[in-house]
Symmetry: C2
Subunit: 273 residues, 2 copies
Protein backbone atom coordinates (compact mmCIF):
# COMPACT_ATOMS: atom_id res chain seq x y z
CA UNK A 1 0.00 0.00 0.00
CA UNK A 2 1.16 3.49 -0.80
CA UNK A 3 0.29 6.31 1.55
CA UNK A 4 -0.05 10.04 1.10
CA UNK A 5 3.40 10.62 2.35
CA UNK A 6 4.93 8.39 -0.29
CA UNK A 7 3.14 10.06 -3.15
CA UNK A 8 4.48 13.39 -1.91
CA UNK A 9 7.98 12.00 -1.44
CA UNK A 10 8.24 10.43 -4.90
CA UNK A 11 7.94 13.72 -6.79
CA UNK A 12 10.31 15.51 -4.45
CA UNK A 13 13.02 12.84 -4.50
CA UNK A 14 12.77 12.56 -8.27
CA UNK A 15 13.19 16.32 -8.69
CA UNK A 16 16.17 16.57 -6.33
CA UNK A 17 18.02 13.62 -7.86
CA UNK A 18 17.27 14.77 -11.42
CA UNK A 19 18.65 18.22 -10.70
CA UNK A 20 21.92 16.69 -9.57
CA UNK A 21 22.83 13.89 -11.98
CA UNK A 22 25.55 11.51 -10.82
CA UNK A 23 25.67 13.08 -7.38
CA UNK A 24 25.46 10.51 -4.59
CA UNK A 25 22.83 11.35 -1.96
CA UNK A 26 23.02 9.35 1.26
CA UNK A 27 19.62 8.01 2.31
CA UNK A 28 20.13 9.95 5.53
CA UNK A 29 19.74 13.15 3.47
CA UNK A 30 16.21 12.13 2.59
CA UNK A 31 15.36 10.69 5.98
CA UNK A 32 16.24 14.05 7.54
CA UNK A 33 14.07 15.78 4.93
CA UNK A 34 11.01 13.53 5.24
CA UNK A 35 11.36 11.91 8.64
CA UNK A 36 11.09 8.52 6.96
CA UNK A 37 12.98 5.37 7.82
CA UNK A 38 15.69 4.10 5.51
CA UNK A 39 13.71 0.98 4.70
CA UNK A 40 10.76 3.11 3.61
CA UNK A 41 13.08 5.24 1.51
CA UNK A 42 14.64 2.14 -0.04
CA UNK A 43 11.17 1.19 -1.26
CA UNK A 44 10.76 4.71 -2.69
CA UNK A 45 14.01 4.29 -4.59
CA UNK A 46 12.89 0.95 -6.00
CA UNK A 47 9.72 2.58 -7.32
CA UNK A 48 11.63 5.53 -8.80
CA UNK A 49 14.16 3.22 -10.43
CA UNK A 50 11.35 1.28 -12.07
CA UNK A 51 9.69 4.52 -13.12
CA UNK A 52 12.84 6.00 -14.67
CA UNK A 53 13.71 2.78 -16.46
CA UNK A 54 10.17 2.18 -17.72
CA UNK A 55 9.97 5.62 -19.30
CA UNK A 56 13.58 5.83 -20.50
CA UNK A 57 14.52 8.73 -18.22
CA UNK A 58 17.57 7.08 -16.75
CA UNK A 59 18.23 4.91 -13.78
CA UNK A 60 18.92 5.04 -10.07
CA UNK A 61 22.11 3.52 -8.82
CA UNK A 62 22.08 2.39 -5.23
CA UNK A 63 25.45 2.25 -3.49
CA UNK A 64 25.43 0.10 -0.36
CA UNK A 65 27.34 0.61 2.86
CA UNK A 66 28.18 3.43 5.22
CA UNK A 67 29.38 5.77 2.46
CA UNK A 68 26.49 4.65 0.29
CA UNK A 69 23.43 6.33 -1.08
CA UNK A 70 21.56 6.82 -4.29
CA UNK A 71 22.39 8.67 -7.48
CA UNK A 72 20.47 9.52 -10.62
CA UNK A 73 22.16 8.18 -13.74
CA UNK A 74 20.71 10.08 -16.69
CA UNK A 75 19.68 8.72 -20.01
CA UNK A 76 17.07 9.86 -22.42
CA UNK A 77 14.12 8.23 -24.01
CA UNK A 78 14.84 7.34 -27.65
CA UNK A 79 11.74 9.15 -28.92
CA UNK A 80 12.64 12.28 -27.00
CA UNK A 81 16.21 12.09 -28.28
CA UNK A 82 15.13 11.64 -31.88
CA UNK A 83 12.64 14.48 -31.63
CA UNK A 84 15.23 16.82 -30.12
CA UNK A 85 17.90 15.95 -32.70
CA UNK A 86 15.40 16.36 -35.55
CA UNK A 87 14.44 19.77 -34.22
CA UNK A 88 18.06 20.93 -34.03
CA UNK A 89 18.83 19.46 -37.45
CA UNK A 90 15.90 21.29 -39.00
CA UNK A 91 17.12 24.54 -37.49
CA UNK A 92 20.69 23.94 -38.68
CA UNK A 93 19.49 23.33 -42.24
CA UNK A 94 18.16 26.87 -42.63
CA UNK A 95 19.99 28.66 -45.51
CA UNK A 96 19.75 31.89 -43.51
CA UNK A 97 22.60 30.50 -41.39
CA UNK A 98 25.10 30.62 -44.23
CA UNK A 99 27.66 33.36 -43.81
CA UNK A 100 30.09 34.68 -46.41
CA UNK A 101 33.00 32.29 -46.96
CA UNK A 102 30.97 29.21 -46.15
CA UNK A 103 30.84 29.87 -42.41
CA UNK A 104 27.69 28.90 -40.55
CA UNK A 105 25.96 30.81 -37.76
CA UNK A 106 25.28 28.36 -34.92
CA UNK A 107 25.65 30.48 -31.77
CA UNK A 108 21.90 30.55 -31.11
CA UNK A 109 21.68 26.75 -30.96
CA UNK A 110 24.92 26.33 -29.03
CA UNK A 111 23.78 28.79 -26.38
CA UNK A 112 20.24 27.56 -25.79
CA UNK A 113 20.18 25.28 -22.74
CA UNK A 114 17.30 23.12 -23.99
CA UNK A 115 19.47 22.23 -27.00
CA UNK A 116 22.81 21.95 -25.23
CA UNK A 117 21.22 19.71 -22.60
CA UNK A 118 19.89 17.34 -25.26
CA UNK A 119 23.23 17.27 -27.10
CA UNK A 120 24.97 16.67 -23.77
CA UNK A 121 22.76 13.62 -23.20
CA UNK A 122 24.00 12.13 -26.47
CA UNK A 123 27.61 12.79 -25.43
CA UNK A 124 26.94 11.36 -21.96
CA UNK A 125 25.63 8.21 -23.65
CA UNK A 126 28.86 7.87 -25.63
CA UNK A 127 31.28 8.45 -22.76
CA UNK A 128 29.39 7.51 -19.59
CA UNK A 129 31.77 4.68 -18.78
CA UNK A 130 34.98 6.71 -19.16
CA UNK A 131 34.75 8.38 -15.77
CA UNK A 132 36.55 11.70 -16.43
CA UNK A 133 37.62 13.87 -13.49
CA UNK A 134 36.80 17.04 -15.39
CA UNK A 135 35.47 18.24 -18.74
CA UNK A 136 37.65 20.55 -20.82
CA UNK A 137 36.79 23.01 -23.58
CA UNK A 138 38.26 26.13 -25.21
CA UNK A 139 36.52 29.47 -24.90
CA UNK A 140 33.97 30.54 -25.93
CA UNK A 141 31.23 29.03 -28.09
CA UNK A 142 31.50 25.51 -26.68
CA UNK A 143 31.32 26.52 -23.01
CA UNK A 144 27.55 26.19 -22.64
CA UNK A 145 27.57 22.70 -24.18
CA UNK A 146 30.58 21.68 -22.12
CA UNK A 147 28.83 22.94 -18.96
CA UNK A 148 25.77 20.83 -19.83
CA UNK A 149 28.05 17.81 -20.25
CA UNK A 150 29.86 18.56 -16.97
CA UNK A 151 26.49 18.71 -15.18
CA UNK A 152 25.55 15.22 -16.43
CA UNK A 153 28.89 13.81 -15.30
CA UNK A 154 28.63 15.68 -11.97
CA UNK A 155 32.14 17.05 -12.60
CA UNK A 156 33.78 20.48 -12.93
CA UNK A 157 34.58 22.16 -16.21
CA UNK A 158 37.96 23.59 -17.18
CA UNK A 159 38.11 26.28 -19.86
CA UNK A 160 41.28 26.89 -21.85
CA UNK A 161 41.65 30.61 -22.55
CA UNK A 162 42.78 32.17 -25.82
CA UNK A 163 44.64 34.78 -23.80
CA UNK A 164 45.82 34.16 -20.29
CA UNK A 165 44.32 36.50 -17.72
CA UNK A 166 45.67 37.71 -14.40
CA UNK A 167 42.77 35.97 -12.69
CA UNK A 168 43.97 32.58 -13.91
CA UNK A 169 47.14 32.65 -11.83
CA UNK A 170 50.12 30.84 -13.37
CA UNK A 171 49.25 29.06 -16.58
CA UNK A 172 50.61 26.57 -19.07
CA UNK A 173 50.45 27.96 -22.60
CA UNK A 174 50.67 26.16 -25.91
CA UNK A 175 51.11 27.61 -29.41
CA UNK A 176 49.46 25.71 -32.23
CA UNK A 177 48.27 25.91 -35.82
CA UNK A 178 44.52 26.34 -36.10
CA UNK A 179 43.12 23.89 -38.63
CA UNK A 180 41.64 25.65 -41.61
CA UNK A 181 43.40 28.99 -41.61
CA UNK A 182 46.82 27.57 -40.68
CA UNK A 183 47.15 30.51 -38.36
CA UNK A 184 49.16 30.39 -35.17
CA UNK A 185 46.97 30.50 -32.10
CA UNK A 186 47.60 29.96 -28.44
CA UNK A 187 45.70 28.58 -25.52
CA UNK A 188 46.42 28.76 -21.81
CA UNK A 189 45.20 26.71 -18.90
CA UNK A 190 45.51 27.65 -15.25
CA UNK A 191 47.83 25.34 -13.35
CA UNK A 192 45.39 25.44 -10.45
CA UNK A 193 42.62 23.92 -12.54
CA UNK A 194 44.14 20.49 -13.04
CA UNK A 195 46.03 17.85 -11.08
CA UNK A 196 48.50 15.42 -12.58
CA UNK A 197 47.12 11.96 -13.28
CA UNK A 198 43.53 13.08 -13.78
CA UNK A 199 41.33 12.02 -16.69
CA UNK A 200 39.45 14.39 -18.98
CA UNK A 201 36.82 14.46 -21.70
CA UNK A 202 37.27 17.13 -24.41
CA UNK A 203 34.17 19.00 -25.63
CA UNK A 204 34.12 21.55 -28.43
CA UNK A 205 31.47 23.24 -30.52
CA UNK A 206 33.01 22.68 -33.92
CA UNK A 207 35.76 20.53 -35.42
CA UNK A 208 37.00 21.53 -38.88
CA UNK A 209 40.73 20.91 -39.30
CA UNK A 210 41.11 19.51 -35.79
CA UNK A 211 44.01 21.79 -34.85
CA UNK A 212 42.38 23.08 -31.68
CA UNK A 213 41.51 19.59 -30.44
CA UNK A 214 45.04 18.42 -31.28
CA UNK A 215 46.34 21.30 -29.16
CA UNK A 216 44.16 20.28 -26.21
CA UNK A 217 45.52 16.73 -26.47
CA UNK A 218 49.05 18.16 -26.49
CA UNK A 219 48.53 20.51 -23.56
CA UNK A 220 46.91 17.68 -21.57
CA UNK A 221 50.15 15.75 -22.02
CA UNK A 222 51.98 18.67 -20.38
CA UNK A 223 49.66 18.26 -17.40
CA UNK A 224 50.05 14.43 -17.44
CA UNK A 225 46.29 14.16 -17.91
CA UNK A 226 44.76 11.23 -19.78
CA UNK A 227 42.19 12.14 -22.47
CA UNK A 228 39.37 9.58 -22.30
CA UNK A 229 37.39 10.95 -25.23
CA UNK A 230 36.52 13.88 -27.43
CA UNK A 231 33.14 15.07 -28.69
CA UNK A 232 31.85 18.07 -30.59
CA UNK A 233 28.44 19.41 -31.50
CA UNK A 234 29.43 19.72 -35.16
CA UNK A 235 32.26 18.45 -37.32
CA UNK A 236 32.86 19.16 -40.99
CA UNK A 237 32.89 16.45 -43.63
CA UNK A 238 35.90 18.14 -45.28
CA UNK A 239 38.80 17.90 -44.74
CA UNK A 240 38.34 14.16 -44.23
CA UNK A 241 41.86 13.98 -42.83
CA UNK A 242 41.92 16.09 -39.69
CA UNK A 243 44.67 16.74 -37.18
CA UNK A 244 42.81 14.47 -34.79
CA UNK A 245 41.12 11.16 -35.55
CA UNK A 246 39.59 9.99 -32.37
CA UNK A 247 36.46 12.10 -31.88
CA UNK A 248 32.70 11.86 -32.16
CA UNK A 249 30.40 14.63 -33.29
CA UNK A 250 26.64 14.90 -33.14
CA UNK A 251 26.11 16.70 -36.45
CA UNK A 252 28.20 16.61 -39.61
CA UNK A 253 28.35 19.68 -41.80
CA UNK A 254 28.39 18.37 -45.34
CA UNK A 255 28.09 21.60 -47.27
CA UNK A 256 27.72 25.33 -46.71
CA UNK A 257 27.93 27.25 -49.95
CA UNK A 258 27.23 30.95 -49.77
CA UNK A 259 27.18 31.40 -53.56
CA UNK A 260 24.53 28.78 -54.17
CA UNK A 261 22.83 29.26 -50.80
CA UNK A 262 23.16 25.55 -50.07
CA UNK A 263 23.52 24.13 -46.60
CA UNK A 264 23.50 20.52 -45.58
CA UNK A 265 23.95 18.77 -42.26
CA UNK A 266 23.41 15.18 -41.23
CA UNK A 267 23.20 13.37 -37.94
CA UNK A 268 26.23 11.36 -36.92
CA UNK A 269 25.94 7.63 -37.59
CA UNK A 270 27.24 7.18 -34.02
CA UNK A 271 23.87 8.24 -32.64
CA UNK A 272 21.61 5.37 -31.74
CA UNK A 273 18.13 6.57 -32.81
CA UNK B 1 -6.66 5.48 -3.97
CA UNK B 2 -3.37 5.57 -5.75
CA UNK B 3 -2.49 2.73 -8.12
CA UNK B 4 0.78 1.32 -9.36
CA UNK B 5 0.60 3.34 -12.50
CA UNK B 6 0.40 6.61 -10.59
CA UNK B 7 3.40 5.87 -8.42
CA UNK B 8 5.40 5.18 -11.58
CA UNK B 9 4.06 8.31 -13.30
CA UNK B 10 4.86 10.69 -10.43
CA UNK B 11 8.62 10.14 -10.53
CA UNK B 12 8.74 10.31 -14.31
CA UNK B 13 6.68 13.51 -14.63
CA UNK B 14 8.68 15.15 -11.85
CA UNK B 15 11.96 14.30 -13.58
CA UNK B 16 10.86 15.54 -17.00
CA UNK B 17 9.42 18.82 -15.72
CA UNK B 18 12.42 19.43 -13.46
CA UNK B 19 14.83 18.94 -16.34
CA UNK B 20 13.01 21.62 -18.32
CA UNK B 21 12.19 24.49 -15.96
CA UNK B 22 9.67 27.03 -17.22
CA UNK B 23 8.90 24.96 -20.29
CA UNK B 24 5.17 24.44 -20.82
CA UNK B 25 4.23 20.79 -21.38
CA UNK B 26 0.72 20.17 -22.70
CA UNK B 27 -1.07 17.42 -20.76
CA UNK B 28 -1.40 15.62 -24.10
CA UNK B 29 2.38 15.09 -24.01
CA UNK B 30 2.01 13.02 -20.86
CA UNK B 31 -1.19 11.27 -21.93
CA UNK B 32 0.63 10.05 -25.04
CA UNK B 33 3.51 8.89 -22.83
CA UNK B 34 1.44 7.09 -20.19
CA UNK B 35 -1.87 6.38 -21.90
CA UNK B 36 -3.62 8.18 -19.03
CA UNK B 37 -6.62 10.45 -19.26
CA UNK B 38 -6.20 14.18 -18.75
CA UNK B 39 -8.29 14.11 -15.59
CA UNK B 40 -6.01 11.44 -14.12
CA UNK B 41 -2.98 13.53 -15.10
CA UNK B 42 -4.54 16.63 -13.55
CA UNK B 43 -4.67 14.75 -10.28
CA UNK B 44 -1.00 13.79 -10.71
CA UNK B 45 -0.14 17.45 -11.18
CA UNK B 46 -2.02 18.42 -8.03
CA UNK B 47 -0.01 15.86 -6.05
CA UNK B 48 3.28 17.03 -7.56
CA UNK B 49 2.44 20.67 -6.92
CA UNK B 50 1.78 19.87 -3.27
CA UNK B 51 4.98 17.83 -3.11
CA UNK B 52 7.15 20.55 -4.64
CA UNK B 53 5.64 23.26 -2.45
CA UNK B 54 5.81 21.20 0.74
CA UNK B 55 9.50 20.52 0.31
CA UNK B 56 10.46 23.91 -1.12
CA UNK B 57 11.48 22.56 -4.52
CA UNK B 58 9.37 24.96 -6.52
CA UNK B 59 5.89 24.89 -7.87
CA UNK B 60 3.82 23.69 -10.79
CA UNK B 61 1.94 26.24 -12.79
CA UNK B 62 -1.10 24.95 -14.61
CA UNK B 63 -2.16 26.93 -17.68
CA UNK B 64 -5.74 26.22 -18.72
CA UNK B 65 -7.19 26.07 -22.21
CA UNK B 66 -6.28 24.62 -25.59
CA UNK B 67 -2.74 26.02 -25.55
CA UNK B 68 -2.42 25.13 -21.89
CA UNK B 69 -0.34 22.69 -19.98
CA UNK B 70 1.91 22.51 -16.98
CA UNK B 71 5.31 23.96 -16.22
CA UNK B 72 7.80 23.57 -13.41
CA UNK B 73 8.61 26.85 -11.74
CA UNK B 74 11.83 26.36 -9.82
CA UNK B 75 12.69 27.56 -6.39
CA UNK B 76 14.94 26.16 -3.80
CA UNK B 77 14.48 25.10 -0.25
CA UNK B 78 15.93 27.69 2.16
CA UNK B 79 18.05 25.11 3.98
CA UNK B 80 19.48 23.81 0.73
CA UNK B 81 20.18 27.35 -0.42
CA UNK B 82 21.90 28.31 2.82
CA UNK B 83 23.99 25.15 2.80
CA UNK B 84 25.05 25.68 -0.82
CA UNK B 85 25.94 29.35 -0.27
CA UNK B 86 27.87 28.50 2.90
CA UNK B 87 29.82 25.86 1.00
CA UNK B 88 30.74 28.28 -1.80
CA UNK B 89 31.59 31.02 0.69
CA UNK B 90 33.90 28.70 2.60
CA UNK B 91 35.68 27.80 -0.62
CA UNK B 92 36.00 31.45 -1.65
CA UNK B 93 37.55 32.35 1.70
CA UNK B 94 40.62 30.17 1.11
CA UNK B 95 43.80 32.32 1.13
CA UNK B 96 45.24 30.02 -1.56
CA UNK B 97 42.95 31.86 -4.00
CA UNK B 98 44.77 35.14 -3.64
CA UNK B 99 46.82 36.02 -6.70
CA UNK B 100 49.49 38.71 -7.01
CA UNK B 101 47.97 42.19 -7.27
CA UNK B 102 44.93 41.29 -5.18
CA UNK B 103 43.26 39.22 -7.90
CA UNK B 104 41.31 36.16 -6.83
CA UNK B 105 41.15 32.77 -8.55
CA UNK B 106 37.47 31.80 -8.90
CA UNK B 107 37.34 29.88 -12.19
CA UNK B 108 36.89 26.52 -10.46
CA UNK B 109 33.73 27.65 -8.66
CA UNK B 110 32.35 29.54 -11.65
CA UNK B 111 32.75 26.48 -13.89
CA UNK B 112 31.31 23.81 -11.61
CA UNK B 113 27.68 23.18 -12.54
CA UNK B 114 26.59 22.23 -9.03
CA UNK B 115 27.69 25.70 -7.90
CA UNK B 116 26.51 27.68 -10.91
CA UNK B 117 23.11 25.99 -10.68
CA UNK B 118 22.72 27.01 -7.04
CA UNK B 119 23.85 30.57 -7.75
CA UNK B 120 21.46 30.66 -10.71
CA UNK B 121 18.60 29.73 -8.38
CA UNK B 122 19.36 32.79 -6.25
CA UNK B 123 19.37 34.98 -9.37
CA UNK B 124 16.16 33.37 -10.60
CA UNK B 125 14.57 34.24 -7.25
CA UNK B 126 15.55 37.90 -7.67
CA UNK B 127 14.39 38.31 -11.27
CA UNK B 128 11.74 35.65 -11.84
CA UNK B 129 9.03 38.23 -12.47
CA UNK B 130 10.97 40.27 -15.04
CA UNK B 131 10.32 37.90 -17.94
CA UNK B 132 13.45 38.45 -20.09
CA UNK B 133 13.49 37.16 -23.69
CA UNK B 134 17.16 36.22 -23.39
CA UNK B 135 20.05 36.25 -20.94
CA UNK B 136 23.20 38.14 -21.91
CA UNK B 137 26.80 37.83 -20.72
CA UNK B 138 30.31 38.61 -21.94
CA UNK B 139 32.79 35.84 -22.67
CA UNK B 140 34.19 33.86 -21.00
CA UNK B 141 34.16 33.23 -17.24
CA UNK B 142 30.49 34.07 -16.73
CA UNK B 143 29.15 31.85 -19.51
CA UNK B 144 28.56 28.76 -17.38
CA UNK B 145 26.65 30.76 -14.75
CA UNK B 146 24.68 32.62 -17.44
CA UNK B 147 23.79 29.29 -19.07
CA UNK B 148 22.52 27.99 -15.72
CA UNK B 149 20.38 31.12 -15.38
CA UNK B 150 19.11 30.79 -18.97
CA UNK B 151 18.08 27.19 -18.24
CA UNK B 152 15.97 28.28 -15.25
CA UNK B 153 14.25 30.96 -17.31
CA UNK B 154 13.82 28.54 -20.23
CA UNK B 155 15.40 31.15 -22.52
CA UNK B 156 18.40 31.39 -24.85
CA UNK B 157 21.71 32.95 -23.91
CA UNK B 158 23.54 35.59 -25.92
CA UNK B 159 27.29 35.97 -25.47
CA UNK B 160 29.04 39.23 -26.30
CA UNK B 161 32.48 38.48 -27.76
CA UNK B 162 35.68 40.35 -27.00
CA UNK B 163 36.67 39.95 -30.62
CA UNK B 164 34.14 39.52 -33.36
CA UNK B 165 34.47 36.25 -35.26
CA UNK B 166 33.54 35.37 -38.82
CA UNK B 167 31.04 32.88 -37.44
CA UNK B 168 29.05 35.64 -35.77
CA UNK B 169 27.97 37.24 -39.05
CA UNK B 170 27.51 41.00 -38.93
CA UNK B 171 27.94 42.43 -35.47
CA UNK B 172 27.43 45.59 -33.48
CA UNK B 173 30.62 46.58 -31.68
CA UNK B 174 31.13 48.95 -28.79
CA UNK B 175 34.37 50.37 -27.40
CA UNK B 176 34.45 51.06 -23.69
CA UNK B 177 36.68 51.67 -20.70
CA UNK B 178 37.08 48.65 -18.50
CA UNK B 179 36.56 49.56 -14.86
CA UNK B 180 39.67 49.12 -12.81
CA UNK B 181 42.44 49.31 -15.39
CA UNK B 182 40.84 52.16 -17.38
CA UNK B 183 41.89 50.27 -20.47
CA UNK B 184 39.96 50.47 -23.72
CA UNK B 185 38.17 47.24 -24.52
CA UNK B 186 35.59 46.25 -27.06
CA UNK B 187 32.71 43.87 -27.25
CA UNK B 188 30.69 42.67 -30.22
CA UNK B 189 27.27 41.10 -30.48
CA UNK B 190 25.90 39.32 -33.50
CA UNK B 191 22.98 41.16 -35.07
CA UNK B 192 21.29 37.82 -35.61
CA UNK B 193 21.20 37.07 -31.89
CA UNK B 194 18.77 39.80 -30.88
CA UNK B 195 15.54 41.38 -32.07
CA UNK B 196 14.54 44.97 -31.41
CA UNK B 197 12.10 45.42 -28.54
CA UNK B 198 13.21 42.35 -26.60
CA UNK B 199 14.01 42.30 -22.88
CA UNK B 200 17.20 40.98 -21.36
CA UNK B 201 18.79 40.09 -18.04
CA UNK B 202 22.55 40.73 -17.74
CA UNK B 203 24.69 38.11 -15.97
CA UNK B 204 28.40 38.43 -15.25
CA UNK B 205 30.92 36.65 -13.11
CA UNK B 206 32.53 39.66 -11.49
CA UNK B 207 31.75 43.36 -11.12
CA UNK B 208 34.62 45.59 -10.03
CA UNK B 209 34.49 49.03 -11.65
CA UNK B 210 31.30 48.24 -13.54
CA UNK B 211 32.66 49.30 -16.94
CA UNK B 212 31.79 46.05 -18.68
CA UNK B 213 28.22 46.04 -17.37
CA UNK B 214 27.87 49.71 -18.35
CA UNK B 215 28.97 48.74 -21.86
CA UNK B 216 26.36 45.98 -22.06
CA UNK B 217 23.68 48.49 -21.03
CA UNK B 218 24.94 50.82 -23.77
CA UNK B 219 25.09 48.20 -26.49
CA UNK B 220 21.61 46.99 -25.56
CA UNK B 221 20.40 50.54 -26.27
CA UNK B 222 21.84 50.19 -29.77
CA UNK B 223 19.69 47.09 -30.19
CA UNK B 224 16.63 48.81 -28.62
CA UNK B 225 16.59 46.10 -25.98
CA UNK B 226 15.28 46.78 -22.50
CA UNK B 227 17.52 45.62 -19.62
CA UNK B 228 15.27 44.22 -16.88
CA UNK B 229 18.05 43.46 -14.41
CA UNK B 230 21.68 42.71 -13.78
CA UNK B 231 23.30 40.12 -11.53
CA UNK B 232 26.81 38.86 -10.88
CA UNK B 233 28.32 36.06 -8.88
CA UNK B 234 30.75 38.43 -7.17
CA UNK B 235 31.09 42.17 -6.83
CA UNK B 236 33.82 44.09 -5.07
CA UNK B 237 33.19 46.33 -2.09
CA UNK B 238 35.61 48.90 -3.56
CA UNK B 239 35.19 51.08 -5.51
CA UNK B 240 31.86 51.85 -3.84
CA UNK B 241 30.99 54.12 -6.74
CA UNK B 242 30.86 51.92 -9.86
CA UNK B 243 29.98 52.77 -13.44
CA UNK B 244 26.68 50.98 -12.88
CA UNK B 245 24.39 51.18 -9.85
CA UNK B 246 21.54 48.89 -10.51
CA UNK B 247 22.88 45.38 -9.96
CA UNK B 248 22.74 42.56 -7.47
CA UNK B 249 25.57 40.20 -6.65
CA UNK B 250 25.60 36.99 -4.65
CA UNK B 251 28.98 37.44 -2.98
CA UNK B 252 30.82 40.62 -2.07
CA UNK B 253 34.61 40.63 -2.12
CA UNK B 254 35.64 42.80 0.80
CA UNK B 255 39.39 42.26 0.77
CA UNK B 256 42.07 40.34 -1.10
CA UNK B 257 45.52 41.31 0.02
CA UNK B 258 48.39 39.30 -1.40
CA UNK B 259 50.97 40.89 0.93
CA UNK B 260 49.13 39.99 4.11
CA UNK B 261 47.50 36.86 2.67
CA UNK B 262 44.07 38.14 3.71
CA UNK B 263 40.88 37.33 1.84
CA UNK B 264 37.37 38.17 2.86
CA UNK B 265 34.02 37.64 1.19
CA UNK B 266 30.51 38.02 2.49
CA UNK B 267 27.09 37.00 1.27
CA UNK B 268 24.96 39.71 -0.27
CA UNK B 269 22.33 41.15 2.08
CA UNK B 270 19.91 40.72 -0.85
CA UNK B 271 19.85 36.96 -0.27
CA UNK B 272 16.95 35.76 1.80
CA UNK B 273 18.43 33.02 3.98
Amino acid sequence: MINTTRKLRLGAISSILTQNPNVLYPLSYFSAMFGSSKSTLSEDMTILKESFETFGIGSLEVVMGAAGGVRYVPSVNKDVRREAMDEILEQLMSPSRILPGGYVYTADILLTPKYTDKMAQIIWGWFRDTNPDFIITVEAKGIALAASVARLFGKPLVVARRESKLTEGSVVTINYLSGSANRMQKMSISKRAIREGQKTLIIDDFIAGGGTIRAIYDIMKEFSVDVVGCAAAISTKEPIKKRVNDYKSIFILEEANSDENNISFRLSPDIDL
